[in-house]
C-alpha cells in the first residue's frame, strides 16, 4: 500500500523526534460544547500496542474524548477544545494537521455497526480506492486478508457481492473493523463496539480485539466492566464531577479492579454507583 510513504506535514517541523514508547499522548484536554464544558483536564499516555479501556457512566464525555483524537469532533459545530494531543509525536489538535492522513492512521469503530449501503466487497474497497490502491488484484488480496483477520472470510466468501446490510449485527461490526484495518491504521478507536451484539458475537469480537492489539494500539470505550477487565491492559475511569467529565483514575487494569485508589472507582466497579 502506498499510504505509508506519504510524509506527514509536521515531520519536517517537529524536531527532534524522540523515540518515545507512547503512541498517543493527551495533555490537559478540555472540551466545551457551545457553552457547556463537558470534559476537563484529561491527560493520558498510551503506549504502543496496548489496549486501554475507558469506562464511566453515560454522558461523561467518553465518545467526545474519542472524537477529539480522530477530529471527528470537527463535524459538530461550536465546539472548542484546549490542551494537546500528540499522535506519533505529531500534534492532532492543530488546525493545520492533515486530517486525511490522521484518519487513515486512526481507524474508528462506532457503537452501532455502520456498513455503507453497498456490497461487502465495496465496503472494504471504497476507502482503499479513495486512498490510491488501484490494482484490482491488490484490492482483492487486501479484502481477503482483512476479512480473514476479522474471521469473517469463511462466513461471507461466497457472497462478497451481496449487500453488507444483509449481514447480522455481529458480522456487520466485524466488517466495519475489517474496513477500518484495511487502511493499515496504527490506532483503533472503538466506541462501545459490542453494545449492540449478542454474547457469542461479543466473544468473537473480544478475541479479535486481543489479537489485533499485537499490531495496533487500541482504545476502547465500554460499559461492560467485565469486558474492560478481560481485554484491556490499562483502564481509565471518567467521572462527571458537577457535570464536567474528569479522569478520576488511570492505571493498570489489574490495579484499578483489584485495588482502586479512588473511592468513586471502587464503588463504581462494585456496582454501587450508577
Amino acid at each position: 500500500m502506498t499510504n505509508t510513504t506519504r510524509q506527514h506535514p509536521h515531520q519536517a517541523t517537529k524536531l527532534p523526534l524522540t523515540e518515545s514508547k507512547n503512541h498517543l499522548e493527551i495533555k490537559n484536554l478540555s472540551i466545551t460544547y457551545h457553552t457547556k464544558k463537558i470534559l476537563e483536564n484529561i491527560s493520558m499516555m498510551i503506549p504502543r500496542h496496548s489496549i486501554t479501556a475507558i469506562i464511566g457512566p453515560s454522558g461523561c464525555g467518553k465518545s467526545s474524548f474519542l472524537s477529539c483524537i480522530n477530529r471527528l469532533i470537527d463535524l459538530t459545530p461550536k465546539t472548542q477544545f484546549s490542551g494537546e494531543i500528540y499522535f506519533n509525536q505529531h500534534p492532532v489538535l492543530n488546525t493545520k494537521s492533515d486530517l486525511i492522513l490522521l484518519r487513515k492512521k486512526i481507524g474508528t469503530i462506532f457503537q452501532k455497526p455502520n456498513p455503507f449501503p453497498m456490497s461487502i466487497k465495496k465496503n472494504i474497497q471504497i476507502a482503499l480506492k479513495e486512498h490510491g490502491t488501484k490494482d484490482s488484484k491488490e484490492l482483492d488480496r487486501i479484502t481477503r486478508q482483512v476479512l480473514q483477520d476479522v474471521g469473517l472470510y469463511d462466513e461471507v466468501s461466497d457472497r462478497l457481492n451481496d449487500s453488507a446490510l444483509h449481514l447480522s449485527g455481529g458480522q456487520q461490526q466485524r466488517l466495519c473493523i475489517a474496513r477500518a484495518i484495511a487502511l493499515q491504521p496504527e490506532l483503533l478507536l472503538m466506541d462501545e463496539p459490542c453494545s449492540a451484539l449478542d454474547p457469542i458475537s461479543i466473544n468473537i469480537i473480544e478475541n479479535l480485539i486481543t489479537r489485533l492489539s499485537k499490531q495496533y494500539t487500541i482504545l476502547i470505550v465500554t460499559h461492560n466492566l467485565a469486558q474492560a477487565r478481560r481485554i484491556s491492559s490499562s483502564t481509565a475511569v471518567f467521572w462527571p464531577t458537577n457535570g464536567i467529565g474528569e479522569l478520576i483514575e488511570y492505571g493498570a487494569t489489574e490495579q484499578i479492579f483489584e485495588q482502586p485508589k479512588n473511592q468513586i472507582t471502587a464503588d463504581y466497579i462494585r456496582g454501587y454507583r450508577a
Partner: protein
C-alpha cells in the same frame, strides 16, 4: 398540530371512549376516498369512449374535435424530459451543497431556504411570464418545447431542492461519521454513500415534481405555446396535454369528449410513469438498502 391536540384534550373522556371520535375520522377518510373515486369514475366514464389506438397515434383534426393526440403526446414527453434532465442534477447538487457544507442554522442556509420557500409558492403563471421573457425573448429560444421545459424546470426546482435537502440532512449520522472516519472525499461520499440511501426519498420528491409539471398549463401557454403539429425538434412550439385539455374544454365547442379522453390518457401515463420509476428504483436499490432503516 398543537391546536388540534388542545381540541382533542377538550373532548371529554367519556366521549373519547365512545365511537364518536373514531367514526368522525372514518367519515372524513371515506369522504375523501369517495371524492377521488367520483372524479376518477367521471373521467373514466366520459373519456373511455374516446380512447382508441387511433386516438393515441393520429394527428388531431378539426381543432381536436376528432383525430388523435400523437403530436401532443410527443411534445409533452419532450417537455417533461427536458424538465427532468435539467432539474435532477441541479436539485441534487444544490441540495447536497446546502446540506453538507452549510450548517443548518447558519444565516446563509436560512436565506437560501427562505428564498426557496418563496419561490416554491409563486403561482405558476408568474413562472410562465418569467420564462416567456427570459427563455423565449432574452435567450431567443422563441415559443418552443425547450423554453417550456426550462420554464417548468425553474418551477419545480425549488420544491425539489427543498425535499432533497431534507433527505440529505436526514441521512443518518452513522453514515456521515463512517465516511468521515475513513477520510472519504465529499465526491465519493455523495455518489457512493448518500445517493444510494437517498434514492427512495429523492424519487418520491421527483415524482411529485413531475406530476406538478405534467399538470401545468399556465406556465406553458407563454413558453411552449399551443401549436398542435408534430414537433420537428425541441426548438418547435409544441402543445402539452394539459393545454390540450384546457383548449378543448374552453375554446372548442364539442371538444369535451376528446378532452376527457386526453385527461384519462394523462392519468394513465402518470400512473405508468410513477409506478415504473418506483419499480426501477426499488429494484435498483433492493439489493443494497433492503435492511436500511
Amino acid at each position: 398540530m398543537n391546536f388540534l391536540k388542545k381540541i382533542i384534550m377538550l373532548v371529554p373522556y367519556k366521549l373519547k371512549q365512545s365511537h364518536f371520535v373514531s367514526s368522525f375520522f372514518w367519515m372524513t377518510a371515506i369522504m375523501v376516498t369517495l371524492l377521488f373515486f367520483w372524479m376518477l369514475s367521471s373521467i373514466i366514464g366520459d373519456g373511455f369512449q374516446a380512447l382508441s389506438w387511433e386516438f393515441i397515434f393520429d394527428n388531431p383534426s378539426d381543432s381536436g374535435r376528432s383525430g388523435g393526440i400523437a403530436p401532443i403526446l410527443i411534445s409533452t414527453v419532450l417537455i417533461l424530459l427536458i424538465c427532468s434532465l435539467t432539474t435532477l442534477p441541479l436539485a441534487i447538487a444544490t441540495a447536497f451543497l446546502i446540506a453538507e457544507f452549510i450548517p443548518e442554522n447558519h444565516f446563509f442556509s436560512i436565506i437560501i431556504k427562505r428564498s426557496l420557500d418563496i419561490l416554491a409558492s409563486i403561482p405558476s403563471i408568474v413562472y410562465g411570464l418569467f420564462g416567456n421573457i427570459v427563455f423565449c425573448k432574452m435567450m431567443g429560444l422563441g415559443f418552443s418545447i425547450l423554453s417550456g421545459g426550462l420554464t417548468l424546470a425553474c418551477m419545480i426546482l425549488p420544491i425539489l431542492i427543498l425535499t432533497s435537502e431534507q433527505t440529505f440532512r436526514s441521512i443518518s449520522k452513522a453514515h456521515r461519521q463512517g465516511s468521515e472516519a475513513l477520510a472519504l472525499s465529499k465526491f465519493t461520499t455523495l455518489f457512493q454513500v448518500y445517493l444510494p440511501c437517498a434514492i427512495p426519498a429523492l424519487t418520491a420528491g421527483f415524482i411529485l415534481g413531475l406530476g406538478r409539471a405534467t399538470a401545468e398549463t399556465a406556465a406553458l401557454i407563454f413558453t411552449s405555446g399551443y401549436v398542435d403539429r408534430m414537433p420537428d425538434s425541441v426548438m418547435d412550439s409544441g402543445r402539452a396535454l394539459s393545454i390540450h385539455i384546457y383548449d378543448l374544454t374552453m375554446n372548442v365547442p364539442g371538444g369535451s369528449n376528446n378532452a376527457y379522453g386526453t385527461a384519462l390518457l394523462m392519468i394513465i401515463i402518470l400512473l405508468i410513469t410513477n409506478s415504473s420509476i418506483n419499480w426501477l428504483t426499488q429494484r435498483w436499490n433492493h439489493n443494497l438498502t433492503a435492511q436500511n432503516d
